[in-house]
Symmetry: C2
DNA sequence: GCTTGATCGAACCGGTCGTTACCATCAGGA
DNA sequence: TCCTGATGGTAACGACCGGTTCGATCAAGC
């Protein structure tokens, strides 16, 4: 397994700074990719720094510690993924079924990407090692659940909270199975097929 | 975080052997508990050995390496969990819905246990570090899926393979959510409620 | 009684890791 | 022009870990 590659930004010389926090952004992006691909313990600080052409001291000035870097990476990923799903749901207009279909549609696209490795937040919390991961994954999943509950409520189901949780179960189950069983978008399609009836079963 | 505690068996003196492979069983049980609780990298060989009162040499004679020990632990857990679900399904008699209810019933009991930490196989594959974990989790999930597909087929659904996969999604999603969101048996109940309609929707 | 083999305890090795410190360097502002 | 500050590079530190080896010890079988 070679070095990280392809992420190197910041072709600056010894003492240049080039941008106030462009360095921080480059580190965050490189860490996001490599932590997701190889796990939080699969890459060390030294390799991470050398891959972006930065020094350890710079990393520690920006993030304080490896855990601080991990927390920043996870927060960014959580925000981005939640925004993805919400933007997708918005394309469904006012139809809850269309919203749900759109959500599982982008999910399927994600599953098909060759570097798909499951949910970064859940993975990080699983390979726990530091505490913030737990509260971050809770916040992350609650963000998903809020969106799904909102869709369920718009569909007029009897118990939106419960249906929202069930939809999140299907989403997470598909995420896990697409990862370990390499199912690709088929996992999202099957999950959607199981999810759609939930929107209409308990309606009033 | 103190030592492992409470697992210590084998109160044997220096050169006694007490049992041919009782030592092996004790190591396997201690490793099963602590690997599940603290992660594969959360405990070292030295602590594991001292917790059961064994020496490193004995561990390496029995398992060859830490990865060998992990593989043995995961295989035992996979076999045991699959047997659990199959035994539960058997209590449902010939009624597929009753079988499914029984399966999610034992799942709920599991979720309620205070030391519940999700699926050990999936967790191990997530915090990858050695290759066998991947094929083992595939085999593990396929065992689950075979059972669920069989139930779906008995219910007479149009596409048992597809429904089996959807049921496995609900099972895995509930497993993940019960872990990180500490939902307990409610997760299994909600998953069952979403699963039962799948048995009757596409029947012929 | 002696041999065989399993075991413990301890030391040891090579490696990796996160973190800190120091230094030379260079850009930009006073 | 000089100072300030962010930077890259290097080295070192302390801790831990997986794995190996060795000697002492004791039970069991011939």
């Amino acid at each position: 397994m070679g070095p990280i590659g392809t992420i190197c930004l910041m072709p600056v010389a010894k003492g240049t700074s080039l941008d106030p926090d462009r360095t921080r952004a480059a580190m965050l992006e490189a860490a996001t990719v490599v932590f997701y691909e190889r796990g939080l313990d699969g890459v060390g600080i030294a390799e991470l720094c050398s891959s972006v052409g930065a020094s350890k001291e710079t990393l520690y000035r920006h993030f304080g510690s490896k855990d601080g870097l991990i927390a920043a990476v996870l927060q960014a990923r959580s925000d981005r993924n939640n925004a993805w799903l919400r933007r997708a749901a918005a394309t469904g207009g006012d139809d809850p079924a269309a919203q749900l279909t759109a959500v599982f549609g982008v999910l399927g696209e994600w599953f098909d990407q060759p570097d798909y490795r499951g949910c970064a937040l859940v993975n990080a919390a699983t390979q726990r090692h530091f505490e913030p991961a737990h509260s971050m994954v809770v916040q992350h999943l609650d963000g998903y659940r809020a969106l799904l509950t909102q869709i369920a409520a718009a569909a007029g189901v009897a118990d939106p909270d419960r249906v929202g949780g069930q939809l999140l179960m299907l989403l997470q189950g598909a995420t896990v199975m697409a990862d370990h069983l390499a199912l690709g978008r088929a996992a999202a399609d099957d999950a959607l097929a199981a999810a759609l009836p939930l929107l209409t079963s308990g309606t009033d």
